[in-house]
Symmetry: D2
Subunit: 337 residues, 4 copies
């Protein structure tokens, strides 16, 4: 940590800071600049309560030099995380193509979606049973009933199934019914939920919050790993900006940066980012080229009957063509789709 | 709802839309423009599943005309909400000045803060027991132990006490220990938490999410009221923008709009918005002038010892002067501080 | 400037940096932390070309400690700037109430607006002659003809007149026809225009760019002052965020910060920020309470006939009532309206 | 255009609106909904001054149905724009790889950069002579002297040269010295500059403003084309968001949308978007995959000596490897690099 004092800080004030630093078991190194004094704090400031130094009235700012990560980044943990599930090695060459309806709506719809995925050759099905809806008057999901449908899909088709959990009280039951759990964008900093996710063994897809920085996103993954579950897959799904031509702005710089700095698999959800079907193809290709290890795509047997997010769902035929188009991009990036 | 078709939509396509609309129990009115056909959908489209119309390939866009609110806005519920607590009528002239440390850190600190508030004449104390921290390595709050300290403050000083709840499993116990519960910015769309807040009787301060639109903010309040608790106080606390000179950008246009469109009391948290002590005075004055019914301000007996957010905490002396400065602004706005 | 090296930087790499620093006439001070080496660069780094240090592959980041300002901030220039014009001392107690139509549309409209302003007691009239319009098909302003109308208003009514200039080639002629020139938000970083503004003597209102940080805003003012014109008035007019309920998000934290850090007068344009008439009253009050030295408000004799921005224009009656309501807030802040 | 009236609008108010519409030569169609009256305005509302309808006090909102574009979109102009220059057909299969230093700094540096580009097989060199710098104390560019250097590069190497123009007074001279002119992000809505660009014949690269919507970006291109120059190339270069891990957030959804809706070539500048060298490779690949017709990349013979933006410049070796890596992606997209 570096402490920059305001111009004109007195010797007493400098002493006050250095005493506080020494009291925390850290070592201050003073350097006097042209207009300001700068103090470099030596020692592991990562978990020391040094924030309050910023509140001293003669301190201009305190700048952290150490990054706050311990478990998620290559700097501290060189070996990459490979999520092994159902014969797939996600993060190690197997491209995680995950598709399916936004919500589980009925057994018929879920089974129909599964049949299409099998035919296309996609191995993981998504479908939400608990829906985070902006309005209390919108469809809230089938809950436990939906989880049972997904379990049945798994048993009858051999597909892996994936679903979102929003409530800490649902983590355990969901982990028993599906293969992969998802933390939605709105819950990226629901820290109690992250801690519960750390107590299960299922892989967890952690979606980036709509207004979360990459740093906060990594720290949220750190919560899950720190609580005991190393099987974390990061998912970029667009951030909220001033642009209104699409629902959110897909941030592929984040994908590139996460692949560079962390050892975790990174996937992309272009469907929720775009919120419109016509941009999904190009965004899938761009995601793969940016280094993504997988995609999360909405497909609905009959988009116009979807109870939510119909406008962005692909039809089974569209998904089939898209998958064919994506294969050469995956190959170029050394991944198996 | 208005459905705008793409240029060149055929008669069959128009029929397809009108049939879908009729099947939903609604009435279509067709109007042919110079380049496009527009269909106005009559009937209560508020909870009808009309979103999927947007997914038809010959539809350009579907525009909702009815606002989705039922319980929060003056349009549907003319009488203003007054939160009556401890002799205060918040939303009806009594200015809700709420101050105290970011976190409850020890009984001594909490009691010391309470003593200062009493001396200044402030009637509601804030202090968090459950802390939403970006890093799992940062102080996570005292939990139940903290709740007990707050209860003791209430019993020994007569102050009202306010605290944040993050986990659905803590709502009941917290509601028994403190007067007012708070939903933090990160949990504004934690819908299960909102529903639990609807089951208690305590007033609930709902903070706006860092990237939440005013519309989403109102819909979150709608969840709580719809679940049974009408005592909702909205709190603007800054939104996330590109500006980095302060932690967040306080949005007083939102305060003006919420006061105009909803019947709920609206307060402002300038401390978390600014993240720096030197802007709090002007932002408090501006909030009152914009129409706020209260303020949520951080005060710490010894900011440089604070376990979090020290940089933005006022000292007791600063809070005292500030309160004196704010009084004439409250008077001008017809409020009692 | 502080240079943070990557973990594991070698002695040769450290030497490479220190040599570069020494070659620039500056002095490096090395401090070795737990995981990283930090180099504090002593000397005036403000105009030294030190950015490239950031590009060395073993440098993690270079952090500037000195602020880049020389002419705009209190730190370098303690005395406040008072813009003296037409008997007003803007920035020294005289509240700069500026109102009028978005555009000059006809002599009749401009004269009618002026008559209303005189009656209300407002001393400065705004009206744009050159319009920055998003579409080439929208009304582009009356140009020189408009300037002549404004000159006539000045001569016949004694009002001060204010207008925007967009093209460097129009600065001189505009400066001869009106009292105060304005640089619009879209041109805040049109550096050639800023330099031309530095060559005239008229006061210049510099509007903040829609996506400009406070730091960039101050640097734009620095351009004008550095080019020779000290009469700069800063104008906050809302920034672009994700919120769509109003056109832009008025940033009153910026007003508070600019008043604290710079010696320049600061005014607010709530009309363009809100883009809707119903929020202007509360935003005017909040602006005054945040410390603003003036307001820029749209008023049109007949808003529904306005050729642009009618939705946000006040009628003369509304402006009159508003002015009356604002007086006590100005008084409380020690300003004369 | 669709006009939504407020609930409870009276017959007189409805008549008032319909009269205004009729007076503009348009035709109103009234439709009465459950809670509100909606009026659909028939006729070409694209350039009619209908905005003021929004300002009537019983109007809730006015929604434009027609898009404001006439010249830039496929809907109005089906044939794609191909920029033919120096034997390249940009927008028709020839991938526009443009590279070079941020600024022209000296003849030696410019010639050295050109030699490297020739060796790598890149045909267009970029170098700015007029620099838009946030601070007046930073290097402002070589101006005319720089233009002469670029002309010499063109004459001695056969490379095409590209540079930015900021001042309307420099457009003509620059158009005589270089092949391609660029409008920088800060000037995207400098409408006088756009109009001057419409008067020359050189291809113009128009960069998206940091806070410009896709719609505003297209409208800026519309200005240039409307003023007479059809050779417009759009350039996505990142938008300003809350994320600080990179300088700007590259928006590849915009690339996909611009390719879909307009007939103009679209290129990407990953260097200025990222502001850091380590993300440029993945972002180039992603841009190509998203459909880009070219790239604008910074390369400096000696990045650590660059007078600006050194941190993001590639070395000649890096650029050579990158170009080799990009070729198969171009091939996959049917483009020749």
């Amino acid at each position: 940590m570096i402490i920059v004092l305001k111009p004109g800080a007195t010797k007493d004030e400098i002493d006050h800071v250095t005493t506080l630093i020494t009291d925390l078991g850290l070592k201050p190194v003073i350097s006097e600049g042209t207009e300001r004094v700068v103090i470099h704090v030596l020692g592991d400031t990562r978990s020391a309560p040094v924030d309050q130094l910023d509140s001293l009235k003669f301190v201009e700012k305190a700048i952290r030099v150490l990054k706050p990560y311990k478990l998620t980044t290559k700097e501290h943990h060189a070996q990459k995380t490979v999520v092994e599930i159902g014969g797939l090695s996600i993060g190690d060459g197997d491209f995680a193509m995950i598709a399916g309806p936004c919500s589980a709506e009925s057994e018929e719809q879920v089974m129909e979606a599964a049949r299409h995925l099998k035919k296309i050759g996609i191995k993981i099905m998504r479908a939400s049973c608990f829906k985070p809806r902006t309005s209390p008057y919108d469809f809230q999901g089938l809950g436990l009933e939906g989880l049972k449908m997904l379990k049945k899909v798994r048993e009858t088709t051999g597909l892996l199934v994936e679903t979102e959990v929003m409530d800490v009280r649902d983590v355990k039951i969901a982990s028993e019914h599906v293969d992969i759990l998802r933390v939605g964008a709105r819950n990226m900093q629901n820290f109690d939920l992250l801690k519960e996710m750390g107590k299960i063994k299922n892989p967890v897809i952690l979606k980036r919050g709509m207004a979360a920085t990459v740093k906060e996103f990594i720290m949220a993954a750190e919560y899950i790993i720190h609580s005991g579950n190393k099987n974390v897959i990061l998912c970029e799904r667009g951030i909220r900006t001033f642009e209104t031509a699409y629902r959110n702005t897909l941030d592929l710089s984040a994908v590139a940066l996460l692949k560079k700095d962390t050892h975790l698999p990174v996937i992309v959800d272009p469907s929720h980012a775009a919120g419109r079907r016509d941009l999904i193809g190009p965004l899938c290709k761009a995601s793969i080229a940016a280094g993504a290890d997988g995609l999360l795509i909405e497909m609905h047997p009959f988009p116009e009957k979807a109870l939510c997010d119909g406008a962005q769902s692909l039809t089974p035929d569209m998904l089939k063509s898209l998958t064919t188009e994506l294969r050469p991009f995956c190959e170029l990036m050394g991944k198996r789709l």
